[in-house]
Every structure is written in structure tokens, then in C-alpha cells.
């Protein structure tokens, strides 16, 4: 199963080291493949170093694609993390 969804970055500092760490941890044991697309750049969301390369600021829209058996479950988790501003301001 393949799901595509757009999420908005709501925390003040954008996808900096801390959120990238949270995402990488979240996806660590996930079977599905997960990609983020931002400004035409598509990266493997399980790679914290790739997430940092996106340099995505607050209010940016990220296209998230999850593909695999647990695609739906993972998508919900990712949406929640962005929505909760990764526990930041």
C-alpha cells in the first residue's frame, strides 16, 4: 500500500536536528519505505542526515510518501509528530 500526504511544519525552528532525530527514531524499526519531498528534493526519511539536508523551515509543506504493509499506521504517526510540533514551541 502506498500513501501520499502533505504535512506542514508548525514548530518555530523547522526540521532541525531535534525533529530530525525524532523522525529517524520513529521510523527506525518501520518496514515501509518512507520518503519526504521538499522543493523537488526527495529523500529517505529514515536518514537523519538527509532530513537535515532539506533545510525545511517553519510553514514549509513536505510531501510524505509511505509505502509498505504498515504505510497507514506510519503516516498517522508522522502526521501526529508534525502536528505536535515535535514537542517544541
Amino acid at each position: 500500500m502506498k500513501i501520499t500526504c502533505k504535512v506542514k511544519i508548525k514548530n518555530n525552528l523547522g526540521l532541525h536536528a531535534r525533529p530530525a532525530t525524532i523522525i529517524a527514531k520513529l521510523l527506525q524499526s518501520v518496514k515501509s519505505s518512507v520518503s519526504f519531498t521538499y522543493k523537488k528534493e526527495t529523500i529517505n526519511a529514515k536518514s537523519i542526515m538527509s532530513i537535515l539536508m532539506l533545510a525545511a523551515r517553519k510553514n514549509s509543506l513536505i510531501t510524505v510518501v509511505t509505502d509498505g504493509d504498515d504505510a497507514q499506521e506510519i503516516m498517522t504517526k508522522i502526521q501526529e509528530a508534525f502536528e505536535n510540533k515535535f514537542g517544541e514551541a
Partner: protein, 548 residues
């Protein structure tokens, strides 16, 4: 006489420091590059995996220490580094490339990182995000260090009261430098959002960047982290003004002034480690109950200490004792190390460390003891002998002391060699107190040479052998102080209390934090913790136990 000169930069961490610059080289180690055969590929990959594993171990222990210090931001940064180690780019990509390129791991790893760096900077024009490359480089250096045959020490020994000057500083640099030594940071590059800056702020160490470091010469300077400036060749007027600001800032930091006592009413004493007269004001403010370790070799500049006349020494000792207003002062007599002062002596110093040196160069020992004996008139003076390995050294020192004066001055032994631990029952019968110096004890017990990785040392304080040795000494019927870096790690305080330690001596700035931990510790719980820790075979398991 050069004139006062002010260099303007940007403030990354507030505070004021007065000290001597110490230049940290950013020069990268040359790494070998060579072709490998197909049969060597698996071996190279195994070597790489080991380096990743060792790097992870490093980071987890650093994290453990930082948690104890309560620096949450710093803990998060290390967490990011740990996650980066698991990044497919660091794992799968590097391994695939080793197979493809048939080159040694170092060469492949460096090409992967360079490739990432190029893509990173072309994709990221945002300065805030560009700072993160510093973390990747920092981590890369750590991995490369572990790939090396013998892991090099991340940071060399630096003198007390140093202001670190470097082109850039990595988060690991800032974390691994002992707070007693590095009192400020000056760099050319690095922004407010650099993780090195974040850690410096967490530790309250002033940090200014954007400075042309080629202008800095090796002479005392003022680092003003509030205004973001560096003052070279300060006039005595500027110096006095800066000292005032510094004292005012430090006063704000005082949190805990009450006596250190556990929840269940067990009294613990906390003393200060001091190496120079500038720190004297800080001691009372920190709430220390005296000086637990005065490193007399740092009193005068360099080798001058050893040759200062009795009168010169007497005057300075009196000043220290009087400033303590009746609180005890433990003077450790000149501790000449294998590396310190060697250049000032014509004859080789091989093996003549601490007490051995003093017993060989008796005139130096006698002058110091005479000055100290006279100074006892002014307060509570105790004398501590460094690097004792044999009871004979103690007996000989006692004899010399008794020939100088018939006053009864408390005499103690540093317990910093395994030989001293194992004979501490004999030593304790012949002296008045013992002081465990964990830094040397760890080095000599675990067979580390000076080139061993600094970060590894975070692991060593809780090595089962060290805990057992502390347990042996703490069980003796004599006052025992613990004064190595281990005593300034709040995370380890409950464990040490549980082992029976009742006196700690640490750098003044750690004292409020140490007292706070003591006040939140229950002695009965600490005892259970210590008993459990003594049963564990590895430092890893002990670390895990402490974390729980």
C-alpha cells in the same frame, strides 16, 4: 609594553573569563588511502562496524554524564549524533562503497562524507541548517579516530585557567574539556546555533566567535562573553573592572548554601579544589566547607613554585589560610609530574613523580614544609603527600616534618596508585587522612597511557575495579576525601556516598550542584545502590544501574 586592544566578535555564551589563551589545532590527521583486495573487503567492513560501535559507546557515556549535569540540550545533541550513526548513509552506503570502490575504510568513509557535504551545502543555503554540518564533521572525526590503530586522545591536556582558542570548536571538544581547565572559548567560526555554543551556554562557559585569532598572542586576556569582545593586553584598570563583573555574575549562580546532608540526615562534607589565588573569592560563595585540595605547584607561574623562597611561600600560604577564616585548608605539596616541569631540570626526572621527586630533591621539600609549618599559626592547615606508592615514603616524610617542627600537623596521603589502595590499611595507621585522586588511579589501574581517548575516560570512573578500590579505602577508619573529576559528576555522587565516602572535594563551580544531589539522596538507598553496583562485572551494567 603593548597597548590594550579590543577585538569585537559575537557572543555565543555569556560570562566573563580572565585567563591565558591555549591554542587548539584544527589540523586534521592524515588518513591513509590504499586499494584493498576482494578478500580484504569483509575485514574492512568489520573494522568499520567496530568503529561505529565504539563511537556509539563513547556517545552513550557522554550522554550519561551530561544527564547528570542536567544539560538537556546537550543530551539531545548527543542523541542526534547517536541517530546519525544509524543513518543508512553511515551504515549501508559506506559498506556498499567499500565493496564497490575496493579501497580502505578511511578513504571510502571520507569520500562519502565529502560527497554529503557537497550536496548539503549546494542544497542548503540556510545558515541555521548549515551549522548542522559541524555535527556531521564532529561525528566523522570520532569515527575516524576509532578507525585509527590506537585511538588518539580527542583533546590534549590543557593547563588550568585556559581560554581555548581555535578556528572552530566541535560539540565534542566542548564536552570533553574539563571545566576546571577551559574557562572560555574563542573561535573564528561558529554561530549562535552551533551545538558547541549550546553546550557552552549549558555549562555557563563564556564563548565569543568571529574573532581574528591570528591577533591573539600567548599572554593573559579578558574574554567578555556578554559584550562579545576579547581584550588583549588589558590595563590594570580594565582588569579590575572585569573582575568585578565576573564576581557579580558568579554571585547570581549561587543556589545552595546550606550544609550538605542527605534526606535521612547523613552529613557529607564538600570541599573545594583550588589551584590559584583567583579562585579564593569563589570558595565562600560556592558554599565549600574548606579547601580539600590546594595544588601548590600551580601557585607561582610554572617552575617558579618549586624554587620560591620559604618567605615567599609563607606569605602566600598565610594569605590563603587567612582568607578561609578558620576553615580547613589541605595543601598538597608540589606534585611534579612526569610531564610537568621536566624542561627546567637538567638531570632527567624519569620516574621521579610526586613524593619521589620531593624525597630526592629534599631542599625543595624542606623549604615548602618549613613555610607550611610556620603558616599553621594562622588557621587549620593540613598537608597532603602526592603519589604515595609505599609506606616508606610516608614514614620518611613524617620524619622530615618532625625534624622541622614539633607541631602536630595533620598529614595525609594521596591514594592515586593501585599500590596505595592495596596498602591503604598500613598507610592509614601512619597518617591522619586519605585523599583518593581518581584521575591517576584510573589511569594506572586500567593501564591507560596519556594517548588514550579522553571520551573513554567518562567510562572509566565506574569501572568495577575503581569502585572496588574506592570501597576498600572508604572502609578504613580514617577520614577519606575523594577529589578526582569523579567527585564533580553529580550522577556518581549517590554511588560514592553509598560506598562510604563522606567528603568530596571539587572545583568550586560544581559545589552547589553536588550539594543539591546530596540533599536529594537517601543514604539507605545509596547504600543499596552501591552494594548492587559492586556486584556488577562491567562498567556498562553499572552505568545502566545508575541511570535507573
Amino acid at each position: 609594553m603593548r597597548e590594550e586592544e579590543i577585538l569585537h566578535g559575537i557572543s555565543l555564551s555569556e560570562g566573563v573569563a580572565i585567563g591565558t589563551p591555549f591554542f587548539l589545532s584544527n589540523q586534521e590527521e592524515e588518513t591513509p588511502e590504499f586499494e584493498i583486495t576482494i578478500s580484504e573487503v569483509d575485514e574492512e567492513i568489520a573494522r568499520y562496524r567496530n568503529a561505529l560501535f565504539s563511537s556509539k559507546e563513547d556517545l552513550e557515556l557522554i550522554q550519561c554524564t551530561l544527564e547528570g549535569e542536567g544539560s538537556e540540550d546537550a543530551v539531545t545533541i548527543i542523541d542526534t549524533h547517536i541517530q546519525m550513526l544509524k543513518d543508512p548513509m553511515m551504515t549501508v552506503t559506506v559498506e556498499e562503497k567499500i565493496r564497490q570502490m575496493k579501497q580502505n575504510t578511511e578513504a571510502v568513509f571520507k569520500s562519502v562524507i565529502t560527497d554529503y557535504e557537497n550536496r548539503f551545502f549546494s542544497a542548503t543555503k540556510d545558515l541555521f541548517f548549515q551549522e548542522r554540518m559541524a555535527d556531521v564533521n564532529d561525528l566523522s572525526k570520532r569515527i575516524l579516530r576509532h578507525l585509527g590503530k590506537k585511538p588518539k586522545k580527542a583533546v590534549i591536556d590543557i593547563p588550568h585557567n585556559s581560554i581555548l582558542v581555535a578556528r572552530v570548536l566541535t560539540p565534542s571538544d566542548v564536552i570533553s574539556l574539563p571545566v576546571e581547565c577551559a574557562i572560555g572559548f574563542i573561535t573564528e567560526k561558529g554561530g549562535e546555533n552551533s551545538h558547541a555554543a549550546l553546550i557552552a551556554r549549558g555549562r555557563g562557559i563564556p564563548f565569543v566567535s568571529g574573532i581574528d585569532i591570528s591577533k591573539i598572542l600567548v599572554s593573559p586576556l579578558i574574554l567578555n562573553g556578554i559584550k562579545g569582545k576579547v581584550i588583549l593586553n588589558p590595563t590594570s584598570k580594565t582588569l579590575a573592572a572585569s573582575k568585578k563583573i565576573r564576581t557579580a555574575l558568579k554571585k547570581q549562580e549561587i543556589i545552595v548554601l546550606e550544609k550538605a546532608e542527605t534526606i535521612d540526615g547523613h552529613k557529607i562534607k564538600v570541599f573545594a579544589n583550588v589551584g590559584n589565588l583567583n579562585d579564593l573569592d569563589l570558595i565562600h560563595e560556592s558554599g565549600a566547607e574548606g579547601i580539600g585540595l590546594f595544588r601548590t605547584e600551580y601557585l607561582f607561574s610554572h617552575h617558579v613554585s618549586l624554587f620560591a623562597s620559604e618567605e615567599e611561600q609563607y606569605e602566600i600560604y598565610c594569605k590563603i589560610i587567612q582568607s578561609m577564616k578558620g576553615l580547613p585548608v589541605v595543601f598538597r605539596v608540589f606534585d611534579v609530574g612526569a610531564d610537568k616541569y621536566v624542561e627546567f631540570f637538567k638531570e632527567p626526572l624519569e620516574g621521579l613523580r610526586g613524593i619521589r621527586f620531593l624525597l630526592t630533591r629534599r631542599e625543595i621539600f624542606i623549604t615548602q614544609l618549613s613555610a607550611l609549618t610556620r603558616a599553621t599559626e594562622h588557621g587549620d592547615v593540613r598537608i597532603l603527600l602526592p603519589f604515595i606508592s609505599d609506606i616508606h615514603e610516608l614514614l620518611e616524610s613524617k620524619k622530615i616534618l618532625s625534624e622541622i617542627s614539633n607541631k602536630k600537623i595533620p598529614l595525609g596521603c594521596m591514594i592515586e596508585l593501585p599500590s596505595a589502595v592495596l596498602t591503604s590499611d598500613f598507610l592509614s595507621k601512619e597518617c591522619d587522612f586519605l585523599s583518593i585522586g581518581t584521575n591517576d588511579l584510573i589511569q594506572y589501574s586500567l593501564g591507560l597511557d596519556r594517548a588514550s581517548s579522553y571520551t573513554d575516560e567518562l567510562f572509566q570512573p565506574i569501572h568495577p575495579s575503581i569502585l572496588r578500590m574506592v570501597n576498600i579505602v572508604a572502609g578504613l577508619q580514617k577520614p577519606v576525601t575523594i577529589c578526582g573529576e569523579i567527585a564533580s559528576n553529580p550522577l556518581l555522587i549517590p554511588l560514592l556516598i553509598g560506598l562510604g565516602i563522606k567528603e568530596f572535594s571539587a572545583s568550586p563551580r560544581f559545589i552547589p550542584a553536588i550539594k543539591k544531589v546530596i540533599q536529594n539522596t537517601k543514604f539507605s538507598d545509596a547504600q543499596i545502590l552501591a552494594q548492587k553496583a559492586l556486584m556488577l562485572p562491567t562498567a556498562r551494567e553499572i552505568a545502566r544501574l545508575i541511570e535507573e
